[in-house]
Structures are given as C-alpha cells and as structure tokens.
C-alpha cells in the first residue's frame, strides 16, 4: 500500500497553492448525529466475486458500452446516506434508473460518513452492502487506508481539479460548499452581514448552528469559520470557541440544533450552515422567507468525496453510477441543489451550465476567499472543540 498520509499532505499542499477558488464543498452535512437509516428490501443477489473480477479500473469510451451492459446485468445499485433533499440527490436518484433501467436502493438517507464506512465493513459480502459512498474527506482517507474502496478512474477524471482527487483513484471530491448565515427575513429585518455582526444585541436569542460541533462536521466548520472571523485561523480554532462562549453568555446563541422544522417555524431565526443547506431552505420554506449570505470575514469551505466499495455487490453498477455523477448531466444536477460540483470550472469553461441555474447561485466573487483546512488541521480543531466546547460554551 501507498503512504496515504504523505499523499494526503501533498494533496492539501496543492490545495493551498491553487487557492482553490471556486470550489469547496457541498451540502451533505449532517443531521448526522441523529441520522437515518433505511434498510430497504434487498436487491438481487448476483455472483459477486465474478463480477468484481470483471469490473474495470480505468474507463474508456470503448469500454463504456460494455460497462452499461454489465451493469444492467447486475440490475441494481445500493447507495447509502444520500438525503434526497440535499444537493439535489432526489433528481439523481430519479434520473439514473430512468436512464439505465437500474433500480436504486438508498439506505439510511440521513446517515453519517462514519456509518457509511461502517456499513461497508459490517455488511461485507452482503447483497445489501452499499456499492458506492459519499463521505467526508477525512473518512475518504481513512476508508482508503482501511482498504475499503476500489480504485476507479471515470471518463471525466481528468477534468476534476487535481486537488480534489486521489491520484490513485480511490476517491474523488464530488461537491463543495461554504459556511453561510441563513436568516428569516421577517424576523430578522436587519440581517447580519459578517460573523462579528452576530454579536449585536438585536440578535439576542436568535442565532443557532446546524448541529453540535461534537458530532457534526458542518457545526465544526461553523466554529472554524468564526475562528477565522475572530483573529484565528484554520489551525487556530480557539477564538471560534471563545466567540461562541461569548455568544452563549450574552444570550445570542441558542444551542438548539437547527432542523428544517425549526427553520420553517421561525424558532431559529438565524442559522449557520453550509450555503447549499440555506440555499435549499429558500425555496423549501416560503413561509420562513429565508435568505442567506456568505460572510466575508470567514469564508471557510469543505467538500465531500465519492468512493466505490471494494467489495460492492454490484461493482459495475457502482462504476456506472460514478460515470453518471461525473457526467455533465450529473454535475449540473448537483449544481441545481446549490452544491458546487467538482468539475464546476470545466463546466463553466465549456459553457454547458444553463443560465437559470447560474443565476440562482451566490456571486462567484465571495468564493474566491474560501479557505480550507488540512486533515491534520481538522483533527486538531475537532480535538480542541471536543475538549473545550462542553465546558466553555456549556453551562
């Protein structure tokens, strides 16, 4: 095996270099702690080992037809933890079967990355095991280290930015997003523009985060973003924790975890979350008259990654699914959900994005300031938060 850690360090170094403007992450944060699970009915069982042996690693235009044939022979696809209302996954889950006549069982639509990797391990050899997963980057790396994934280079692998993919094909970034402030326009007539604004007395009892930083990646991202806004950095999240401790003390922070219900009912008038989540609320809840902004004082981003189960029960269908997601069609499906797809730059360059889709997205300028954290930085942030959040922010 390779030294993935070295590879990973290299990856993050590249990422910093490139400034990684237009990209980062996408929705798919978390309702993780209270995640969801569907064990739907099992799919068709096929001779897995044989299929696996036959499944290709490098895709070519010529081989694609055969892939479609083989995938159809398998007849089914198991996905896991794809929330239909996130990143427009509903459309993908609808279009793929229509296009290829292969049914999808989407388990545990609200599951966490940890649960996805767990499922690969615990359901190994089972016809219900997930064929492909969509996990946080740190989990993609640890999954690769555990040998959970099969390498696969899809047809569009080349146009995925270098920084967003594993050079050995074990995983590749799928979509990214940035931390944003969502607000209820009727309850917050004068919405905050920066993270520092949140401290104003007029927002007393109004500011919530999507989840707990102890269990939710998006909540951790929120803490890191506010750290950046308060003199800290991706490698120094202390100021972020102190910021929320202060918010708690002055009563602005209400520590209830944001759910769509609290947004819809107006109980969380201001919610800090990924841009694609807040983007979704705008259309989802007219009653809440939702709006959102990406504060300029702490533009912090994150992304998720696709990987194929090394012991997938439907290896060819899994590969076909990846081809679908990374095709122009699949990438635009994500973009329609407010999530910036990995091949965003390529799509822009080739002008294949419908103008109506682009018009709904926040201005591209703000994304140029986006910062990312390396895995080591993230781990350090998590550990510090785990240590300090309950005592400093807690009562």
């Amino acid at each position: 095996m390779e030294d993935y850690e070295a590879q990973e360090v290299e990856f993050w170094a590249k990422l910093e270099e490139e400034g990684m403007s237009r990209s980062s992450m996408l929705r798919r944060s978390v309702a993780a702690a209270a995640g969801l699970t569907v064990l739907g009915s099992a799919s068709t069982a096929l001779g897995m080992s044989k299929m696996r042996a036959a499944a290709p690693t490098h895709m070519t235009q010529d081989a694609f037809k055969q892939l479609v044939v083989d995938a159809k022979k398998e007849g089914h696809l198991n996905t896991i933890a794809l929330p239909p209302d996130w990143a427009n996954y509903a459309e993908a889950l609808h279009d793929f079967p229509r296009k290829y006549g292969i049914g999808i069982t989407n388990d545990n639509p609200d599951g966490s990355s940890a649960q996805e990797n767990q499922a690969i391990v615990s359901l190994k050899g089972d016809k219900r095991a997930p064929d492909a997963v969509d996990v946080g980057v740190s989990f993609a790396i640890s999954g690769t280290n555990q040998g959970l994934y099969a390498p696969y280079f899809n047809l569009n692998y080349k146009t995925i930015p270098r920084a967003l993919k594993n050079t050995h094909g074990y995983w590749m970034g799928d979509y990214w997003g940035a931390v944003s402030i969502g607000y209820n326009k009727s309850l917050v007539p004068n919405p905050p523009k920066t993270f520092k604004d949140l401290m104003k007395p007029e927002y007393k009892g109004k500011v919530a985060i999507n989840g707990s930083p102890l269990t939710s990646n998006s909540a951790i991202a929120v803490v890191i973003a506010t750290a950046i806004a308060n003199g800290g950095s991706v490698s120094d999240v202390g100021p972020g924790i102190d910021f929320w401790a202060e918010m708690k003390k002055n009563g602005n922070y209400i520590p209830v975890g944001t759910t769509s219900q609290t947004v819809a009912s107006g109980q969380t008038p201001i919610s800090l979350d990924w841009d694609y989540n807040n983007y979704a609320y705008v259309t989802e809840f007219p009653a809440a008259s939702w709006g959102f902004t990406i504060p300029s004082d702490g533009v912090y981003g994150g992304y998720y990654a696709q990987a194929i189960n090394a012991t997938a029960p439907h290896p060819n269908a899994a590969r076909l699914w990846e081809e679908f997601l990374y095709s122009d069609q699949g990438q635009i499906i994500w973009l329609k959900g407010g999530a910036h797809p990995a091949r965003f730059a390529d799509l822009v360059a080739r002008k294949v994005i419908p103008a109506a889709v682009l018009a709904k997205l926040p201005s591209a300028a703000i994304y140029n300031k986006v910062k990312f954290a390396s895995l080591a930085q993230q781990t350090a942030a998590k550990n510090l938060i785990a240590q300090q959040w309950p005592t400093k922010v807690g009562s």
Binding site: A34, P213, L214, Q261, S395
Partner: protein, 308 residues
C-alpha cells in the same frame, strides 16, 4: 376500587432487593433437572444482554490495537468527561426527585376518592404515551412553547414579563430538566399508582380518629408506607433520565454536556471516532448506576423493614 388500572409496580417490586440478598439457606443443592427448562431463557439473556453489555465493558479497557489499558478509564476523570458525569447525575437526580414528588402529588390527586374516575383513566393512558415521548419531537414541542419565540414566551412577553430577561433559558440545564419532566412525571404516575392504591382508607381514618391532621397522617403514615415504592421509583426515574439522549442532544447541541451525548459522539459521529472511549464512558454509566443501586438497597431495606 382500583379496578381498571392495577398497574404493576416496577419500582416498588420487592424483587430487586430480594434478588440481591444473599440466600443464606441455599447451601449446597443438587442441580435438579427442572433447571433445564430455563435454559432457553438464560441462553437468550446471555446472548443478547450479557454478551453485548460485557463486550462494552471489556472494550472500555482496550486501546485501538485491542491491548489492555486503563487509559480510557483514566480519561474519564478529566475534563470534559468528568463534567459530563456531573451534569448527567445532576440532571438525573433533580428530575428523578422532582418527578417523584410532583408525580406522586398528581397521581394522588387523580386517584384519591372524590376525583372522578375518568380523570384517572385519562391520566394513566396519557402517561403511557407521554412516558414514551422524546427526542426531536419533544424538543421541538418545547421550543415551540418556551423557546425565544415560543407560544408561551410570546404570551408572557405580551403580558409584560419576558422570561429571557429573567434568566430563563430553555436551552440550558434548567430547560433540559423542565423538558425531561415531560417523560419523568408520566413514568412516576404509572409507577406509583399501584402503591397509592395500596394505601388503605382505614389508615387515614384511623389516624384522623386518633387526632391526626392531614399532614400528620402523611408525615407519620402515608409517606413512610409509600417510601419503599418512592425510593424504587426515584431509582427508576434516575436511570430513565440518565440514559436519555436524543432530547437533550437536539435541545442543546452538547452545550449541556451529558454522558450519552458524548458516547454517541465518540461512537457514531462524523467527527470523533474513538469507540473505546465511548465504551469507557458507557462503563462509567454502568458504574454510576451500580453505585446508585448500592445506595438504594440499604435505604430500601431500612424503609421497608416493616414490610413482609
């Protein structure tokens, strides 16, 4: 009489202390064949109760390479874990004791002679449902009630009294305790009802006949007679609150730092992946409950020394 709702007292069941009492008469006995009939039951409990519980306990003493270690256990005595235990125990104790006191009052008010029968039936069925209510739905119900923009908060604010101005915060320890009472009180009502049925009218009348006022009856007879059941109920309520998880989590995002939330975070979270620490935390919960049982048994025995 107490016909329709002869609920079995779980807490007041004398079984627990009995079970723990060493059986002095047992001596050495042949293992009769009659035991064989209980094999399926014990096999089942071993497989699905003792093995899982045991595996957690063992995992608490292992590191990530499955080598024996006390490191996880030692960690429990540091921040923020020790604080989590403190908060968990405090919330559980407060809601268990208050739940027991007010649950008793409500149950007695509903059961006593003179209260219409339908109130009792209505209350007990409701309690059956509410005792199962929890998680995000319960949290949201309370946010919609007493959150910063809740129904009641709005009423109070309109009436000129803003609870948040007076230090009330639903998303605080006090708030969590208030919300926990929503399932603690019903549990208490269910558990204590049979014990209240067991209070004989003759005792109240005899006391009154002998000159006792209402409170003197309760002080000298009612409460002492109920005490074994009350103690059992407090233990049950303590365990109930101690293990509760989803409600506090969705209400406070870990700012009210309780042990089950940490276990959830370490075992399953997206963020922190340290199952052995989670197991150590679970082991700690087990120890806390065991200590509670150890405190409870002598108290119970003292309170019930007059009983058969």
């Amino acid at each position: 009489m107490a016909d329709e709702s002869r609920f079995v007292t779980l807490a007041s069941n004398a079984a627990a202390p009995q079970a723990l009492r060493p059986d002095v008469t047992s001596g050495r006995r042949r293992l009769p064949l009659a035991w064989l009939a209980t094999v399926p039951f014990f096999a089942y409990t071993i497989a699905f109760l003792f093995l899982p519980a045991g595996s957690v306990l063992i995992g608490a003493f292992q590191d990530n390479e499955n080598k024996a270690t006390f490191a996880n256990i030692r960690l429990l005595f540091h921040h923020p874990y020790i604080d989590a235990y403190r908060t968990s125990i405090e919330i559980s104790l407060v809601t268990a004791v208050l739940g027991a006191v007010f649950g008793l009052l409500i149950a007695y008010a509903a059961i006593r002679d003179g209260t219409p029968k339908f109130i009792r039936s209505g209350l007990t069925t409701f309690a059956g449902v509410a005792a199962n209510f929890g998680g995000i739905p319960l949290a949201f119900a309370w946010i919609a009630t007493l959150g910063p923009l809740g129904v009641v908060t709005t009423w109070l604010r309109r009436a000129g009294w803003d609870p948040t101005e007076h230090g009330f915060q639903l998303f605080s320890k006090t708030g969590v305790e208030l919300v926990y009472m929503y399932f603690q009180l019903p549990l208490m009502i269910l558990v204590i009802a049979p014990a209240i049925d067991g209070l004989r009218k003759e005792w109240r009348e005899a006391a009154s006949n002998l000159g006792a006022k209402q409170w003197q009856f309760w002080r000298y007879v009612g409460i002492p007679v109920l005490m074994p059941s009350l103690l059992g109920a407090v233990i049950l309520l303590f365990g109930n609150a101690f293990a509760a998880y989803a409600t506090a989590y969705s209400l406070t995002s870990g700012t009210v730092n309780i042990v089950p939330v940490l276990i959830g975070a370490y075992y399953t979270g997206n963020v922190l992946d340290n199952p052995h620490l989670a197991q150590a935390l679970a082991f700690g919960m087990f120890v806390v409950l065991a200590v509670m049982m150890l405190l409870y048994i002598p108290l119970q025995r003292r309170a019930a020394r007059w009983a058969k």
